[in-house]
Symmetry: C2
Subunit: 380 residues, 2 copies
């Protein structure tokens, strides 16, 4: 399974599909084939491993022994598939992996993480029904971490939303005259780019787009691969890391932006969502296969997401400085009295140069999409 996890980590960290690795073993534990998923539209890890084992269309002339429905050689009797995520039971751009494994004559399947999506789950059940021995839960937490946002998003039925905040000790995001470059130092700003790289989309309101004209791309030092910096999101092997992929740039609101805005340059794709409804924004981004949204503000859009209960994580860059005046971190939250205070749980405190990065999750737990999409129970 460790090998399968290493293979999985070679896949793209940000993709509509999860990262999956698969190792096929004969009854004596010798490797027959290996594979991992290289991103939406390419073969799933199980199929890639079957191809590697000589059971795929590239295996050469029609064999003389037992063949699959596709006319390929079957696996030797007693073969095991070790796979980091439950084989899918769903036909998308590729066929269901559970069927492919059955067709190839698999005897045993060892799974780390159960499929968290209502759509593709049921693979283990399908295999068991066909009298295949199925073992689940081996190194499950490692596998889950590998697909942190995919998993969390599947459970919520909507993309996970991280709200990025940056302020002084007195909660100011800019000085009285609107100047804000720079409140935080170089290490904190570099960390923002690393965190952006873990997201499928970077979202801002039209107010921020007009005021700051941000480019909203991931910009990292040349020496550094665009690997996710979240500690729990292991960096892919540098040698096989995919080409840095820019998150989708999203501007939310009804105000017009000039065509010359930096967000509209060629560095990445940009969409405008002419709405003020955070739930609608998330539905539209979910439809595009986005699991993790990095929300960069400004205060008005941040407040709209917070009021809707649609922020799952705060990443607050806190500069040890005071301004005494200037715009505040978040707009009106509709909180009139201390009894309604919006409490968070401090998950992590990290020093970044002179600044602090605070990571927080809601004290009351996350809010699923409405109507709630039923999630597969954990370990099912």
């Amino acid at each position: 399974m460790r090998r399968a996890l290493d293979l999985a980590a070679r896949g793209p960290a940000v993709d509509p599909n999860p990262r999956v690795g698969c190792v096929l073993l004969d009854r004596d534990g010798r490797t027959l084939g290996e594979g991992f998923h290289q991103g939406a539209g390419s073969p799933h890890a199980e199929v890639a491993a079957l191809l590697d084992a000589g059971c795929g269309p590239a295996a050469g002339p029609r064999p003389s022994g037992p063949v699959t429905r596709a006319g390929m050689p079957r696996l030797p009797a007693g073969a095991t598939a070790v796979v980091t995520l439950e084989p899918c039971n769903h036909t998308g751009r590729t066929g269901p992996c559970a069927e492919a494994l059955l067709d190839a004559g698999i005897a045993r399947v060892v799974i780390a993480q159960s499929d968290p999506t209502p759509l593709a789950s049921g693979g283990a059940e399908r295999l068991r029904a066909a009298r295949v021995e199925v073992v689940t839960g081996l190194l499950e937490s490692e596998a889950t971490v590998l697909n942190r946002w995919f998993t969390a998003s599947a459970r919520l039925g909507r993309p996970v939303v991280t709200l990025k905040l940056a302020s002084t000790l007195d909660g100011r995001v800019a000085a009285a005259d609107g100047t804000s470059q720079w409140i935080t130092g170089g290490p904190a700003r570099l960390d923002v780019h690393r965190q952006r790289a873990t997201a499928g989309a970077i979202v801002v309101g039209t107010g921020t787009a007009l005021a700051d004209d941000p480019q909203l791309t991931v910009r990292l030092p040349a020496a550094e691969p665009a690997a996710p910096a979240v500690e729990s999101d292991p960096a892919p092997d540098a040698a096989t890391a995919p080409t840095p992929r820019q998150p989708l740039r999203v501007v939310v609101g009804t105000r017009e932006l000039p065509a010359s805005a930096r967000m509209f340059d060629d560095a990445a794709e940009t969409i405008s969502l002419r709405t003020h409804d955070p739930a609608e924004v998330l539905r539209l981004l979910s439809d595009r296969g986005i699991h993790h949204v990095w929300l960069e503000g400004g205060p008005t859009l941040a407040a709209a997401f917070l009021r809707a209960g649609l922020v799952d994580r705060l990443v607050h860059y806190l500069a040890p400085a005071l301004l005494g005046a200037g715009p505040s971190l978040v707009g009106d939250l509709g909180i009139g009295s201390i009894d309604s205070i919006d409490r968070w749980h401090l998950e992590d405190v990290t020093h970044l140069g002179d600044d602090l990065r605070l990571t927080l999750v809601p004290a009351a737990g996350p809010t699923p999409a409405t109507p709630a999409t039923p999630a597969t129970p954990e370990g099912a």
Copy 2:
């Protein structure tokens, strides 16, 4: 010297005078006497040790051997005084200790910390001039820590000012309707009481006194001695700790307070300073022998001290919560643009229950009183 430091720590942590310990040794290193300073108006440590060695007024009938000017027996030849602070060279309510040691026939004086005050220093010089061997700097940092605020205040020529702040992540000190109990949790509020206990005075503006009606006393659990909680300020030996002493309560400003205000109860002494000038406040408190001021706000008074450059330390209790509206941490600092941002250096981050305590010092260093009182150079 370790024994002398232990003795010194038995003195009151908050007092106009520093904590000092003294051990007298004969030429073979045997202890002749020990003493420590028990607070303003009581004998200095050196005199207490001389009395303990039988060289004081309590030593009984007039001796037959060599006597001091006061008619007391002198120390045996070759005696050493080990003292945590340079013996004073100044007549206050007690005479100069350097003279008392000379008079008793001391041969050698070992000193940890040089006297930082312009008024009382010069003792080492006086002793050397009288051909006494003087060694300085032994365990100097430990001795300095013992009198942290006394030392810092002597160097600045004014009391050290710690500004206490408590806010949400968005820098709010209360909700939109003014309610603020409680933004931070129990452990943070207990810590405030521990920190108050290290101060000679607790200062608030009339606005805060009117809005919150605080009692401004040190209130600690019964089991806990009112010992300073600052890590670098060692707690006195519980058995000999002095009775908890309430800091002076100070209200600054020209608005009238009702006689029924809790600040005017019998729990501690209270003074009203009818001024808006932070420098004047510090001069008046300095005259009362106060070395450390714990400034509890509100935002207007905090801003006045910050604008005057008269805050030496921020202790910021940060609650992981958002309010979106409500009064801000500090009032207008006169900062118009990001170039004038008031930067601090983060010295410590401590978790207190769900909250964080940030301790910060000015990035540019402290501001001495104007006109600056010349401080004795370190190690002089």
